[in-house]
Symmetry: C2
Subunit: 129 residues, 2 copies
């Protein structure tokens, strides 16, 4: 495991994740960064944070990629919880307590899973539109 340094750009990204309750895309992060760094740097920071298990990557049904901070303290962990993607407000939320159970043929070896639900979130369901 390599050493990852603390830089101003990385700290800024982490602060944005700290303030956000939902998952964030590269573009969303960039627009909150006030030109602290280049957009390529944000890509590289996100890669590093994923590698260090500080954030995890979420791929939505429509192909959009977002990231959310990990709420686990463990050094090594898998993200087998569900993610909810709202079709109205387009927010993606971690449902840490929702985990799928399934039976898979024994001749497959599963290393990672992605379980995404899409529909209407509580907020958008209330404001019935």
């Amino acid at each position: 495991m390599k050493i990852t340094r603390k830089t101003v750009a990385k700290s800024a990204v982490l602060e944005i994740f700290g303030k956000s309750k939902t998952a964030l895309s590269h573009t969303e992060i960039q627009s909150q960064m006030n030109n602290v760094c280049d957009r390529v740097t944000i890509y590289r920071i996100l890669d590093r944070l994923v590698n260090d298990d500080i954030i995890h990557k979420i791929v939505n049904l429509d192909g959009t990629v977002k990231y959310a901070k990990c709420n686990h303290a463990h050094r090594v962990h898998i993200h087998n919880h569900a993610h909810f993607s709202c079709e109205n407000c387009h927010e993606i939320t971690c449902l840490e307590n929702v985990k799928p159970s399934y039976i898979i043929p024994h001749n497959y070896k599963v290393n990672d899973i992605n379980f995404t639900l899409s529909g209407l979130c509580p907020n958008c369901l209330n404001s019935n539109n």
Copy 2:
């Protein structure tokens, strides 16, 4: 529901899906098409086939998008089966019989689900590399 016409390009795409046991990306389809039509046309055909419930869209963990033909005769159906993505040969297969069970808070309304497993497929597991 609009009328969708039968064209040479659409027939070619359908024939390719008929021959394939795994899901196909736009690029993979294009390379099997022998320049029957423009690449934009393939995008439009895929959109139409998804709308007509003839194929379904699969988004992989790495963000790549593939399509597979539907094995249901029903007019309206959801694709709640699992998809397996092999990290070695990169083939994506429908696991029609694998369906996740899960409990979600009642204040969410689920319209669609995406359940993708990644790891090693039976083929790549046998040729132990």
